[in-house]
Symmetry: C2
Subunit: 222 residues, 2 copies
DNA sequence: ATATATAATTAGGTTTGCCTAAAAATATAA
DNA sequence: TTATATTTTTAGGCAAACCTAATTATATAT
């Protein structure tokens, strides 16, 4: 049985591995977990003893198959709970993360399975992130960053790189949500900022913003 | 902010105080929490420092108003979650306690309030135990033990003194549940065992069993 | 290739929450 | 009332997770 802290480390390693290849540095993990490098080294050793990570002193850490399995279960629980909070308990999508950080550590296989059934086996959480199934399989969708599109392109919003409360509140304000239709009508070459058309509204987006929006690029029949 | 362990101590003290008056002994608490007396002494001191309990060395411990308020919130959360698990997630009433022991420690006032609303503000948990409201008020029902009734008495089952899985499974087998109608048809003076009529079925109950069943005594118009 | 900067590890502490064994206080019995 | 038994507290340790400061290894720049 893993401690809450061990679970948080595994999840953090998993998330960083989604972004970058190879071993993960102590400092990167410390940053993600908002802790100090010394604490990370210590914990990594414990996880290595338990065969949950492969660890080579000074050369970073990687999940083993077991470690990955554990991490995926935590991610599954996190996202199922977020879905529950938004769809059943009237939480806004920017207020669920902290509570899900707690709920993801509840240990009960039956609870996870019954919750999944109760919610109708959702495939995506409120932020568009895929929910691993009971076997740890992730439905993968081909996502592009909005910033990669060209003028005239059409797309549908499918998720976000940044799930912070401030970014989600910004999206609420611009009325951008999951499955929102977006058309790129102008890209400013000076700063790569973008003007997009959403539901007949012209919305200006900085490069930072468009970088953090994942879309599915669609071809529109004229 | 209280730790999980501190919350468990407060809840245990609260539950023991429901049964017996006056200060609660270190050994009684140790037994309830399945820990050692030395650990209890230590924790009690911490709780006393935080003004959550009144503590007199060698003479036991009692909740302060603050301590009682905290304990009632934990009990509220525990029972709301049990209700959720049984009514929405298809748990049987004998499998909810352990999971609720974990869920009761989730910290989010909004979660508690929204869960309460979502469930329709239930007044009793699946075992018939009252759910404190947001202000810590308990709806109190005048409960008797089934063992206190006389031959010929009619009653409705309203709760149990023992919520252990084995007792609840026994009740399932005898088809005794909340709001079940019970008529006492015989009491054996030798061992105080009882025969009751439930839905036209004669059910034998030991003194131990009838002691653990709470009922509302009703008068039946003939 | 060597010096310097950066990153990671080790050493040594702290707090929480548990333990066993010894000592002290209280309760009970002769 | 005094002796004995029981209960409670204290003393001293341990493991998990965190920390700061010092040391060591690796990476970078001259
Ligand atoms: Mn989240
Ligand atoms: Mn977490
Ligand atoms: Mn319970
Ligand atoms: Mn608990």
């Amino acid at each position: 049985m893993l401690t809450q802290s061990e679970e948080n480390y595994l999840k953090a390693i998993f998330h960083i591995q989604q972004e970058v290849e190879g071993g993960i540095s102590t400092s990167r993990l410390a940053e993600k977990l908002e802790t100090k490098a010394a604490s990370v080294t210590e914990m990594i050793k414990r996880l290595a003893d338990k065969k949950l990570v492969d660890y080579q002193k000074y050369y970073g850490v990687q999940l083993t198959d077991m470690g990955r399995k554990h991490a995926l279960l935590i991610v599954r629980k996190h996202r199922l709970w977020e879905f529950f909070l938004v769809e059943r308990l009237n939480f806004n999508w920017d207020e669920v993360h902290e509570v899900a950080e707690q709920l993801e550590h509840i240990k009960s296989p039956k609870l996870v399975e019954e919750l999944d059934i109760f919610l109708g086996r959702p495939e995506y959480d409120p932020h568009g992130d895929p929910i691993p199934d009971a076997n740890g399989n992730l439905p993968k969708s081909p996502k592009k960053r909005l910033s990669q599109l060209k003028t005239g392109d059409h797309a549908i919003c499918k998720g976000f790189n940044d799930n912070s409360s401030s970014f989600l509140k910004f999206l609420d304000k611009q009325e951008i949500g999951l499955d929102t239709q977006i058309e790129v009508i102008h890209i400013e070459s000076f700063d790569e900022s973008m003007t997009v058309l959403i539901d007949k509204r012209e919305v200006p987006l900085s490069k930072t913003a468009s970088d953090n929006i994942y879309v599915e690029h669609i071809t529109v029949e004229v």
